[in-house]
Amino acid sequence: MQLNSKVPNGPIQGKWDKHRFDMKLVNPANKRRYKVIIVGTGLAGASAGASLAQMGYEVDCFCFQDSARRAHSIAAQGGINAAKNYQNDGDSVYRLFYDTVKGGDFRAREANVYRLAEISASIIDQCVALGVPFAREYSGYLANRSFGGTQVSRTFYARGQTGQQLLLGAYSALSREVALGRAKVNSRSEMVDLVVHGGRARGIIVRDLVTGELTAHSADAVVLATGGYSNVFYLSTNAKGCNATAIWRAHRKGALFANPCFTQIHPTCIPVAGEHQSKLTLMSESLRNDGRIWVPKKKGDTRPAAQIPEAERDYYLERKYPAFGNLVPRDVASRNAKEVCDGGRGVGPGGLGVYLDFAEAIGRLGENVIRERYGNLFEMYDRITAEDPYRQPMRIYPAIHYAMGGLWVDYNLMSNLEGLHVIGEANFSDHGANRLGASALMQGLADGYFVLPYTIGDTLARMSPADRLKPDHPAFTEALDEAKERGRRLLGINGKRTVDSFHRELGKLLWDNCGMARSKESLTEALARIPQIREEFWANVKVPGGASELNQSLEQAGRVADFMELSELLCRDALTREESCGGHFRVEHQTEEGEAQRDDANFSHAAAWEFTGADTAPILHKEPLEFEYVHPAQRSYK
């Protein structure tokens, strides 16, 4: 299989413009004859749904939540980047492009990243027009803040609820299209399979989560906007319902899965409290703007923070990275936290935590300023831990947060399957091996508002609505039968362990063996263990209830079954990538100072895997990455 990224020729500054002109257009009168299915209603899905419906396409959206407004984008706190240069601090499209390629540790496609930076400014305009109440200065102009990994202030925010407000903006735009009859939203509807016929995506199989009914939906194009797969680790900052089923089912049907080992660990999360823990809570990265990270200099120092004098504290990020200090990118901050905890200097229960201290900032700026900036986050922390961060430092620890990997897509955001587009976190995206803070919201909305609406036209213009399959075509009935059979099988095992117990076991194995640090040994061990867990799952899981009812255990069982297969690919990719880059840290490949060491000669590519069967080895395809503009160098934040 030859991977064609379809990146246009010419200088990077003109590629997107040229491409928009070169792409075919669908005649306005014909648009309503084309039907597009969008799975997922987060930032990418909702903004794409609204935009495509406005253009005149027939749009059918699906989400597993009870309302499109609840997609996990809503939980993003910190902000959204845009190269507006409102702060007159030297920002530009080129700088945002440069920062993103460098931040991604030179494992992203340059042309895509440049387009993302180019579009970023229009996103802010669009969101403001839709009524997103971004933070303002007293002058009435939009406010900005700086965010981890950059030296300019280009982040727009709405208190600590930026994702919520951006999503409600896209959701309201989509709601208007629903009222006008141009879009439909099917909530409590989960995609359980992709239907492919003749090498083209034809539609999806959906389970109604209230009645359990399985139905076939046919369209001219299918768009997956189903988010990331961090929940493969069981404990992550993702919402409980986030899952990989849509992209994994598409992968099983032929879509290539790229860079699964690029998972991001967020440095500022609330540490685990106990066995019952169901998920982890992120504390926005923006806290690092004012909070100082430290641990005691002495091993095993169990004194309360207030009793540890200044001289006995190690502000290790400020010490090691004087230029960026506490604002180093996420992968660097996370790895350093692990290092000090592994060295026995962690704080809190189990020693798995570091302090994030606001005492200095409160002293310098006053409690009111800190309250204004982070009040809701401090309350949230207090509510969960019963500790007051105005009086004592927060305890934080890294947790899985975001998946840079995902389905492989070309410059048009189309997978290798004709008619299957993948947007937002679900694709292997523009973030390379590490995502910078406040860039996920930017990418989701860029894909949905301003990229896909054009590029999908190019796909649709090449096909005729007359070729759309009827939902009773054998390709659909076969997929329906398979989905029914799978449900029957899960319900019929009636073993002795719950779905969650398997998920927890899998997650812990992944976190220990394929988390912040990975080695040949740990990965080989995981690859031996996962098939055993998978086998036990299919022999010993207990899924109560029936198929034709609201059955949350059955929903979860299907998702965990897919995580089992995905986790194996994740470890295999991590084992194959014999280098360290971004979120992927192989202990065998580090510099003398313990920083990630890339191997550009052998691994400057996107690793796109082809599914060959649950028990057979996948085939690796490589898309070489070329860096014409930003020249790969050892990332330095010192």
Partner: protein, 255 residues
């Protein structure tokens, strides 16, 4: 600590439903309420019983998916807190806790603690938006918005659409939910052109869906996990009144 949970069990929308008592013996203080239900559900599953169905997603208090009555109070005893962020340290050893779904005619029970809130989507679809076609937006800083106005708008926009206000209201009114959206958009300059029509359409939809009227009990504000102020209902009333006086309800148009 030990607790007794009396949980509403209902198989489906047409089932009558009843309370069932479940003793839970080893509740840890740093468990969230939902984590305690997770633990209960694991046990019920292993015993061959049907686990308790409840909605939840982000478990950070922002998505609005969770919510039920905890001993008669929407989202439980802690102020400004969703059920997922309610921790067990707020309960006493030996306590009996009654757990039942939000109840309102317009939000019917689907199963156990899960309700159908699609009526809230329908209210937003009726007018809870600014019509701004993708691509038509002017430069963001071309329009200045005074900070206090933007902040006030944000206060209203913080609504998570959980439905607690409706469950708490003796009339099962959706006025606070609707008022929050009308105020969020109506306070902003971008929201002015459609301001009156928005209020007219959303209120009409609210009435059509079987929500009750507002008689100023104020229970909605007290139950709201995001602290949305009842003052916004006054704004909604004003927009609705001026809409009724000066404009006719017009159908939504794509142009």
């Amino acid at each position: 600590m030990k607790l007794t949970l009396r949980i509403w069990r209902q198989d489906g929308p047409r089932d009558k439903g009843k309370f069932v008592a479940y003793p839970v013996d080893d509740v840890a203080e740093d468990m969230s309420f939902l984590e305690m239900l997770d633990v209960l559900n694991e046990r019920l599953t292993l015993k061959g019983e049907r686990p308790v169905a409840f909605d939840s997603d982000c478990r950070e208090g922002i998505c609005g998916a969770c919510g039920f009555m905890v001993s008669g109070v929407a989202h439980g005893p802690q102020k400004l807190t969703t059920a997922c962020q309610l921790f067990m340290r707020h309960f006493k050893d030996g306590e009996t806790v009654v757990v039942e779904p939000f109840r309102a005619r317009a939000l019917p029970v689907l199963k156990d603690l899960i309700i159908d809130r699609s009526a809230l989507d329908a209210i937003v679809q009726a007018g809870g938006f600014i019509s701004a076609r993708t691509g038509s937006a002017p430069e963001a800083n071309a329009m200045l918005i005074a900070k206090p106005v933007a902040d006030r708008s944000m206060d209203a926009a913080a609504c998570i659409g959980c439905g607690a206000c409706i469950a708490a209201c003796p009339n099962a009114s959706a006025m606070l939910f609707t008022a929050a959206k009308v105020s969020h958009l109506g306070l902003l300059p971008q929201g002015q052109p459609e301001r009156r029509q928005r209020a007219l359409r959303m209120v009409a939809k609210m009435n059509e869906l079987g929500f009750g009227g507002c008689s100023n009990h104020g229970e909605c504000e007290a139950a709201c996990p995001k602290g949305i102020s009842i003052d916004f209902i006054a704004r909604l009333n004003r927009d609705y009144l001026s809409g009724s006086l000066f404009e006719k309800p017009e159908p939504l148009s794509s142009v």
